[in-house]
């Protein structure tokens, strides 16, 4: 066995880091890439299958209704404000602000889940009606799955914030959660444009 010659000491290094200094942040980026790819694939498929149709949506299918989806899109964008506040509070290690912010955001996520259920209704087409319906549902479902997972995660995390076992480094989790939230809500904007707006222009 090779021996060691001590050349430095790392005792003073911090144990809680935020952003790209934290491995979990990179892990989150990794999952964002994976899930972003999945959504991208759904979007690609959407345009690929578009080529097989004369009209889009095909004749006999109504265009999607816009109201709910537009409210949802707006909500998604705006929800970034409280989430950014959570993010900043976490970096300040301001537990109280993080708690309040996470409660607000979790409620918002629940509202989004409800809106998502209504958005399926608003598509005006079933998944098994034709390939248009299929791929529109696919985009929506793929994002809905992520939304659902994020909602559950936020719920658990919020509960954790009130747990006696909370540790300081868990606050880094709030920051990572915020990162994922930015992705989840902002990626919806192009997807919203594809599923709900593009049938009006293609």
């Amino acid at each position: 066995m090779t021996g060691f010659r001590i050349v430095a000491n790392v005792t003073e290094l911090p144990t809680t880091t935020f952003g790209h200094r934290s491995p979990m942040w990179w892990g989150t980026i990794g999952f964002i890439v994976i899930e972003g790819s999945t959504l991208f694939i759904c979007a690609i498929s959407y345009f690929y299958l578009r080529r097989n149709f004369l009209n889009w949506p095909p004749e006999g299918v109504f265009r999607p209704a816009l109201t709910v989806a537009t409210v949802q899109a707006a909500l998604m964008v705006l929800s970034n404000i409280p989430m950014a506040m959570v993010d900043r509070a976490a970096r300040r290690l301001d537990l109280r602000a993080v708690r309040v912010g996470m409660v607000v955001c979790t409620l918002l996520a629940l509202v989004m889940c409800v809106l998502r259920a209504l958005e399926f209704e608003a598509l005006n087409v079933r998944w098994d009606s034709n390939a248009y319906g299929t791929v529109a549902w696919a985009v929506l479902t793929a994002h809905a799955t992520l939304l659902l997972l994020e909602t559950l995660e936020s719920l658990v995390f919020t509960a954790l914030l009130f747990s006696p076992n909370l540790e300081q480094r868990d606050l880094a989790g709030a920051s990572d959660n915020a990162l994922y939230w930015y992705f989840l809500t902002l990626v919806w904007i192009p997807l919203y444009a594809i599923v709900f707006l593009s049938p009006y222009v293609m």
Partner: protein, 646 residues
């Protein structure tokens, strides 16, 4: 070159610990839990890695048995050994096993074992996720084989083209089993890739700048990125297929505006990089072995790194060359021909660099090095045929024939399995503490090398003579009998060589010569650990000052101290220059990854039979992750800080 670790002074009030003290404390803190539950709860990258490697190797043997059955059936024309139904299942199982259950996982497995050691870390970045990835993989593979023995083995080929694999032409659940197996293995591969990327990015030993990373670590980094960008495609595609089959969606129904070619695009956008996902780590094996056995660093480090990165990029530009006969426009085809030829250039660079290394080094012809030499010969042949089939007019002749079968076996066996066997011989002492027998190893190599060529070289000829792939039999009038018999004889030879390998391993485990920490006199950090390494890998985190730390400091490595020893703690460094940045808590062993993997399995398996599976599985999975994430017990040091803050 000066060390870039910030000069943190020794704590004045504390005496430096003695190495023995530290080791004792680390042994206590990092000890594996006892018993079955402890075994199931392990999050150590080495135990997970070993399980991964053994599991993958078992699948390799199963896939090999399937191959043997196929060669037996094809040994003579109109053979009645097995009928089309069994044959079709078996060839699909062979392809699926080798690609999804052996080749990718085994590369990840070796990486998960070696990478933390090579970069001087204690474990992978997310150890529990790592355990979860393994369990998911195990369940996926086991599920496939259980279903296969229940006559529900997939039978539409490893790329399951629709509409054949669609609901109309593949009734029953056979294809669903395939689709979900793919999903299982995708999850494990994606998990492993995130794992490896973050491990490499954030937990390298201080001083191991990107520029000093061993080539093998580079290869795993490139491979992991490729997995990250390639696997979601097949995961999505297989989910689309499963939904077409279960709830009647129309992704691939041409009548309702779906598209059979959409499947091919999605699949090959994954499927082509897949080959390189298998091949790139092999480049890392070869580079490690070449350096060690020529006793010099690999020539042209920057060129090697760049060519691996280039391979990684170019691999994503080739998928359409699997679709040259689907009637795509000529112009598009030309682009993909050019890209397919271009990818030969980085391979050329690598081969020339290795030859230069060998030429200028002092080679030792140990078994790992033999496998490398064999690799070069076989991979050249596979590479040449690869360039040939990039040509559209020629590809239209040999596409989907035995020529292709020959081509990709040369690439995959020659290009990946030979280096992998070399790697087995090379790192076996590190993993087990014992050397493999050289004489048996030579038998292993030569039988494999000869068997490989006898089996697959005639297949080129068969393809040109018009033998399509995936035929369960052929007519005597075709005149393919002789070459097929030859190929079958070659298959027997390969089988014998694998048996020799197994004998070698079994023998070595019992009576093998004990290996020291660095039996080969190699250059990378894993050889600084004991053989086999302790659960914490290194008593102190080494500090790296060159690309060949073990050659630079063969006796005593520079290292840092100051990580806590009373709890599991690891050092996090910066991305580019690997400067120490923070201390990071390492999770305790836990059973929850296994539970989460069981929940995942329930999700995917029930989803084969009912859409409600999604609901059941999600609920279970949620519960499992709550259990996973919920903190148990507290660390007062940490707790106090937060109370002070709030």
């Amino acid at each position: 070159m000066s060390l870039t670790v910030p000069a943190v002074p020794h704590e004045p009030g504390r005496a430096p610990e003695s190495a023995a003290e530290v080791v004792g404390r680390l042994e206590d803190t990092w000890r594996a839990r006892p018993g079955l539950r402890g075994w199931l709860s392990s999050v150590d990258h080495k135990s997970i890695g070993k399980r991964y490697i053994i599991t993958a190797f078992v699948f390799f043997l199963l896939g090999g048995i399937e191959a043997a059955v196929m060669r037996a059936q094809l040994a003579r024309p109109e053979n009645g050994l097995i009928g089309p139904d069994a044959y079709n299942q078996i060839f699909t199982m062979h392809g699926t096993t080798m690609m999804f259950l052996f080749a990718v996982p085994v590369m990840d497995a070796v990486g998960l074992y070696l990478v933390p050691l090579m970069i001087g870390g204690r474990n992978v970045a997310f150890p529990r996720l790592n355990a979860y990835g393994y369990w998911v993989y195990l369940f996926g593979g086991a599920f496939l084989y259980v279903m296969f023995f229940l006559n529900t083995g997939p039978d539409t080929g490893w790329f399951s083209y629709v509409p054949l694999a669609g609901p109309e032409f593949s009734p029953g659940k056979r294809v669903d089993v395939w689709a979900q197996t793919v999903t299982f293995t995708e999850i494990s591969a994606l998990v492993a890739s995130v794992e490896l990327i973050v491990t490499i990015f954030k937990t390298r030993a201080p001083g191991m700048t990107l520029n000093r990373m061993p080539l093998y670590v580079w290869s795993m980094l490139v491979q992991s990125f490729m997995v990250l960008f390639a696997m979601p495609w097949v995961a999505s595609a297989s989910m689309f297929l499963a939904m077409d089959r279960l709830v009647g969606t129309h992704f691939f129904n041409p009548a309702e505006g779906g598209d059979a070619l959409l499947w091919q695009h999605l699949f090959w956008f994954f499927g082509h990089p897949e080959v390189y996902i298998i091949f790139v780590p092999a480049l890392g094996f070869v580079s490690s072995i070449v350096a060690t056995f020529t006793r010099r660093p690999v020539f042209g480090y920057p060129a090697m790194v760049l060519s691996m990165v280039a391979t990684g990029f170019l691999a994503f530009g080739l998928w359409v060359h699997h679709m040259f006969v689907t009637g795509i426009p000529q112009l598009g085809a030309s682009f993909f021909t050019a890209a397919s030829m271009m990818i030969a250039i980085p391979s050329g660079v690598q081969i020339f660099c290795w030859i230069a290394t060998i030429w200028s080094g002092r080679p030792r012809f140990a078994v790992p090095f033999l496998f490398v030499l064999g690799f070069v010969a076989l991979f050249l042949i596979g590479g040449f045929t690869g360039v040939m089939i990039a040509s559209v007019p020629f590809d239209t002749q040999v596409h989907d024939t035995f020529f292709i079968v020959a081509h990709f076996h040369y690439v995959l066996i020659g290009g990946a399995v030979f280096p992998l066997f070399g790697a087995f011989y090379y790192w076996f002492p590190k993993v087990t503490g014992r050397m493999l027998d050289e004489r048996l190893g030579r038998w292993n190599f030569w039988l494999f090398f000869i068997g490989m060529n006898v089996t697959f070289f005639p297949m080129h000829e068969l393809g040109l003579l018009g033998m399509p792939r995936r035929v369960y039999t052929y007519l005597p009038e075709t005149g393919w009998g002789g070459l097929n018999l030859l190929a079958s004889i070659g298959a027997v030879t390969i089988a014998v060589s694998v048996v020799v390998f197994l004998v070698n391993v079994a023998r070595s485990l019992r009576v093998g010569e004990a290996a020291g920490a660095n039996p080969w006199g190699a250059d990378t950090l894993e050889w600084a650990a004991t053989s086999p390494p302790r659960p914490y890998n290194f008593a102190f985190t080494p500090v790296v000052e060159s690309r060949e730390p073990m050659w630079q400091h063969p006796a005593e490595l520079p290292a840092v101290e100051g990580l806590r020893t009373d709890v599991r703690e690891v050092l996090v460094t910066t991305l580019l220059d690997a400067e120490p940045d923070s201390r990071h808590r390492h999770p305790e062993p836990t059973i929850w990854p296994l539970i989460a993997a069981i929940a995942t399995a329930v999700l995917f398996i029930t989803l084969i039979f009912t859409p409600w599976g999604a609901v059941i599985g999600t609920v279970l999975l949620f519960l499992a992750f709550v259990g996973w994430a919920w903190p148990r017990g507290k660390d007062h040091q940490e707790q106090l800080m937060i109370e002070a803050e709030s």
